[in-house]
Amino acid sequence: MNSLVAIAYVPDTESKIKIGPDGSSIDESDVKWIVSPYDEYGLEEALKIREARGAGTVTVVSVGPERVKTGLRECLARGADDAVWVDTGETKNLDALGVAKALAAVAKAAKFDFFWFGQKGVGPDESLVGAMTAELLNLPHVANVVHLDVGEGKVTASREIEGAHEIVECSLPAILTAQKGLNEPRYASLKGIMGAKKKPIAEKKLADLGVPEADPGAAKARWRKLSLPAPRQAVKLIPADDPAAAAKELVRLLREEAKVI
């Protein structure tokens, strides 16, 4: 069984975020880049399916500037067979629909049973590209997969929803987005790293794939402005003289200020 795996190459979650000169994107100078962790679950599952079947290929695809090739090499080192790089050139903040269109164009030229995505690309955190690609390819889509049983021509997936799991049966080919818990991504062996240097990375230009969104004027979602939150406040200490009142105040802050409960 063949898999495509979409790979986003994103700033490491520990990286300091600074605003770039255009005011709507990040300053990339001090950023360390990583393969988006959720995409690793997708890659791992694709590799496991290939290993379990003893046949098939795993192709990783990434849409972005030159640096994403490093991320693709990492995936090749972990065991992917080949890679496709869609070169976005100077374009910044290509929107989700643009990425989905590029991926759909790549997928149309490929034969695959699975097209894996991460539940979200860490950083923008939008969770859009997988479902959009599914729509563009007119394929079924199961999001937030935490367990997968592969059958003949179909799969049974367990996906996480609020407070429960949906068990979904899905025909193949299908788009699946991976959620944490699906598996434990492997580490690349040195053999894999050395071998990855010889594996092919096919290069495609965004412009050749029919993606009008590459032009910022045609983008369907734009970052108008990027701003930093007020510098990390020192901890807000709540006086504990009256524990009950302190607890109430904390709950109020969590609801109204932090908006987390």
Binding site: I17, G123, E169, L226, A240
Partner: protein, 322 residues
């Protein structure tokens, strides 16, 4: 401003609160009643309530095939309603269903999505959303650019759901359409029975050496349950054998990044911070004001956790009951 259409999600014959929040928001932005679309089986009774939250008209797709979610069926319903209504903007709650419906609908209409916004306002005719990016380290102001339809998903529990006295909405039944989904929900398994895995949880309550002994877990568990959280633990208490390793958060345990992390009696050594430092909101409960956990915490109470933890559980329950 052109017309709003709001996708309403229901489960087990109940409208999701997050959808009511989106509906209320649409009414506020539109300055009057808006259109809504509801799909499911036997959902007619839910229509009435939607009026109070801002629906002037509700498009209903009601059929056996729509009893359980399928993207083909539910996006199909939204699509059918949109063809009738020709909305300028579509709002969907950013639930796991909404996160499937909105992008599919958007791609079908060559539009973008303002995903998971925490703020939404109008700039002329243009919807402008605001959302945290890069683990909350920055905030992006977003709009729909050249999209023919402006679509946004709204983060649950952020916008108020305001009920008002209102006329019962007009119901428009959508023509039945064929649904032969290739991805079909066969059943839903409640996960209440299973303990939430700390690695996947959105809210985590962790205990450290400050809890003094394994006999005091029930106190921490009580807060954990009140918050619907997973239970975490520091390396120290796992090493001490007070709790199983699967709960360990940190360098050699699980690396987590929840929305809310409550550290009870945890000093916050680097090996712990390495596992939870990227949590969005950190609450530190500790009696030692010098504990390093306070350097990364958003909120803190310096005091006896044997008082603060039970009080906090009480206050959370009280707030949730409101």
């Amino acid at each position: 401003m052109s017309k709003f259409l709001v996708f309403i999600e229901q489960r087990d014959g109940k409208v999701r609160k997050a959808s009511l929040e989106a509906l209320s928001l649409a009414r506020r932005l539109a300055g009057g009643p808006v259109a809504a679309v509801l799909a499911g089986k036997g959902v007619g009774a839910l229509v009435k309530d939607l009026g109070r939250y801002g629906a002037g008209v509700v498009y209903v797709a009601d059929s056996d095939e729509l009893a359980l979610y399928s993207s083909q069926g539910y996006v199909g319903a939204l699509d059918a309603a949109a063809r009738k209504e020709s909305p300028g903007a579509v709002l969907v709650a950013a639930t796991s269903m909404g996160k499937d419906v909105a992008p599919r609908f958007a791609a079908r209409h060559d539009s973008g999505v303002l995903a998971d916004v925490m703020d939404l306002h109008l700039d002329g005719d243009r919807l402008v959303g605001s959302r945290p990016v890069y683990s909350g380290k920055a905030r992006a102001e977003v709009d729909c650019g050249a999209s023919p339809i402006q679509i946004a998903t709204t983060r649950p529990n952020v916008f108020p759901a305001e009920a008002q006295e209102a006329a019962e909405p007009r119901v428009e039944a959508l023509e039945p359409f064929e649904v032969a989904p290739r991805a079909r929900v066969v059943r839903i398994e409640a996960s209440e029975t299973k303990e939430i895995d700390v690695a996947e949880a959105d809210v985590i309550v962790s205990g450290g050496r400050g809890i003094k002994g394994p006999e005091n877990w029930p106190m921490v568990r009580d807060l954990q349950e009140a918050l619907g959280a997973a239970l975490g633990a520091s390396r120290a208490v796992v090493d001490a054998g007070w709790i199983d390793h699967q709960h360990q958060v940190g360098q050699t345990g699980k690396v987590v990044s929840p929305t809310l992390y409550v550290a009870a009696g945890i000093s916050g050594a680097i090996q712990h911070l390495a596992g939870m430092g990227t949590s969005k909101v950190i609450v530190a409960l500790n009696k030692d004001p010098e504990a390093p956990i306070f350097q990364v915490a958003t909120y803190g109470i310096v005091g006896d956790i044997f008082q603060t933890v039970p009080e906090l559980a009480k206050a959370v329950r009280a707030a949730k009951a409101e």
